[in-house]
Amino acid sequence: MRKYILKRLLQSIVILFFVAFIIYALMRCLPTSYVEAMARQKSMQAGSKSFEEWMEQLTVMYNMDGSIISGYFKWLGSMFRGEFGDSWRWTVPVLQKFNDTVWLSFVMGFISFFFEVIIAIPLGIIAATKQYSKTDYTISVIALAGISLPTFFFASLLKLVFSVKLGWFDLYGLVGRNYDQLSTFGQLMDKANHLVLPIVTLVVVSMGALMRYTRTNMLEVLNADYIRTARAKGLSEKKVIYHHAFRNTLIPIVTIIGGTLPSLFSGALITETLFGIPGIGFASYQSMVAGDIPFSMFFMVFTAILTLLGNLIADVLYAVVDPRVRIA
């Protein structure tokens, strides 16, 4: 087992090495005039460094002078030392901005993930146990609709209904106008209030996939021989489904859920942008649009690491949870 994990870890590092190279190459391929124009624009901001300082920092950090290959290795070296430079858009060190934003994204992602799991899995199981019934059709269509729903359209609809027509929530932002006057508890409630719509959006848009996955797996399990055996033994249907079948369905589901966990840190780019929630997704979107190279590069590498970590966790969990899987 340890050997397997080690092997996968090494593999991931190699993959990361190449992904980082592609990201670095993308940055190097941007027209120089664009980079310079952006740096110049940023240097105009109040309290920002001067243009020469930005360009110098950029040149040193990404080794613009050297060839792509040598520049890449130097950049890797500085990444290992944890030096990511200063963000242009935010005029603070990249890591500081990251630390300021990532936790909000994580909290939001975690809450929506929690709801996603407790809604999608039971519905998926119900649909599977009642295959071809009206319930099954309804749930399947809901799941498909969730998958097909463009985030931005759904978010706009929610805004129209709940913010504009009903006036329950604000259109944008994390805090209300009178946030500073509120007590500590009131501030917490204010933030929670502002997170309702983004979380609803995230849950609805992402639960479809999990629902379908659960249903497919449950159907597979229900067709297995041991379920037939359980029924033949004369066990009640309830016991068959919730004792024998459910536990076996959990195997792939736990794997998938474990694999999703790292991505909670990468934030929800579209949703955060639409609702103006200052999480890492929104911050990185603004950085990318503003041509803030240091922050965008950091964010892309960070997302790549999270994806690799997710795959790794999923594979390892699969082996851990399912005793039938033996890894050579």
Binding site: L30, Y34, Y137, S140, F152, L157, T307
Partner: protein, 524 residues
Amino acid sequence: MEDMKDKKDMLENMEPSIETAEEEYSLSDDRRVRVLSPGQLVMKRFFRNRLAVTGMVILLAMFLFSFVGGLLSPYDEDQKFYRVDIQAKDFAGILYNEEFRYTVGDTELFKSSVHAQALKAIIQDNNKFEYDGNNYELDKLSDDAYIVKSGSKTVGIASKELVNPSAQDTKISFDFTLAALKAKNEGKKKFSADGNEYNIDDEGIITDKSGTEVAYVSRYIVRAVMSDVFFSRELKNQLIDAVESGQESFTYTDEEGVTAEYILKYDAATKAWDVKQEIDTKVFDTYSSPSKAHWLGTDRNGMDMLTRLMYGGRISLIIGFIAVFIETIIGVIMGGIAGYFGGWIDGLIMRIVDIFYCIPSLPFIIIVGAAMDAANTPSLTRIIYLMLILGFLGWAGVARLVRGQILSLREQEFMTATEACGIAPSRRIFRHLIPNVMPQLIVYMTMGLGSTIITEATLSFLGLGVRFPFASWGNIINDVNDTFVLTNYWFIWIPAGVLLLTTVLAFNIVGDGLRDAFDPKMKR
């Protein structure tokens, strides 16, 4: 395995033909049964799935809407519409004169410093004053009009009433003003000035011998906001009438035939009336509500919404198809090679696949989009880049799918047979293996189309994908970023969103239906 299953299924589906066949053929005759090819079986299973058929119908409708609709629509993709809008412009100011105004007859003796002295004398009721070594006399015509003389010479007039020319090019001489004011104040009907005879009536209108109006005496001052505008006498009369009668607005057609509404408003601070001219102006017909001419209204640029939706659908669908086509081609080639050869080739290609899986595609495309923004890339080039990038970033999934299938297929007997026949590897892969992967591939592509269309729409929504003047469902919804549009103009963004949702949903439903239809284990 699957082929076997297919055959079994086929046997089950053999139905005795309904016609009189039973009597004509013997029991063992093949013609007694209708033989269905596997393809027909798939069709049959697909069409039995009502949901999938609904999805198919929706897709067909979308294609018709997007590709034929654009031809049927009477408007072009970027045809702009105009409407006539009333715009109020600041036009004039009217003042009822309460101060003495000075008409200068002799610039030396009646310069502006003398005006003040004259006013002082008037207020103090003196009829004489001295200034700068000159003696002046005031000749009172009425409380509101004085003639200023120096010695025997009339140097100027101080009057609250003013003599205005009636036509633009008429010049009024000092003598004329003097004679007119005198006549007006003395109640005379006639006066002569500059060698001509003039008539003046109670209203203060001055006509020459032929009866043409030359000038008029009035206490109202009408000033134009724009310096080059001259008000016709008629308009001035209208304005003054309106002021006197307390009217708030009137309509007037000038000599050039332009009809405009004039709105008067009294401004207490300046004791003047502001006149606004409401004139019809041609503007873009933006955000007009649904009507007979524009079934879904018009957008921000005054373009027909329904037509934009049709062309937008066309672009969304084309981008989806081409991107999916590119990713399928690359994926099939890479996956096919990896699965067929195995070993280190497989290992290498699969690591490349892993790398492409890991590239954060949305940030990647956003950065490229932002760079293209800065470079002012033309809209058409952007669309091409977008398709290429979406295709090149998406092939990893296809490659995985194809490789997995081929790994299991190549162990089957029919592949051993091709090997025994000495068929070339490329032919074995693309003629014998790939067609067997087709079912899964078609399902994957159908579903992939849906998600590609969503990605494209999301990018266009963010303003980084398809750009004006091209329409795409995503960039049509983009208007919603303006809260005013979100709140007030549902017809701008809801139809595009509904079309997008139904199209993607239909692709997914059809993909689902195809998967079930291709699966021979399915019993229904």
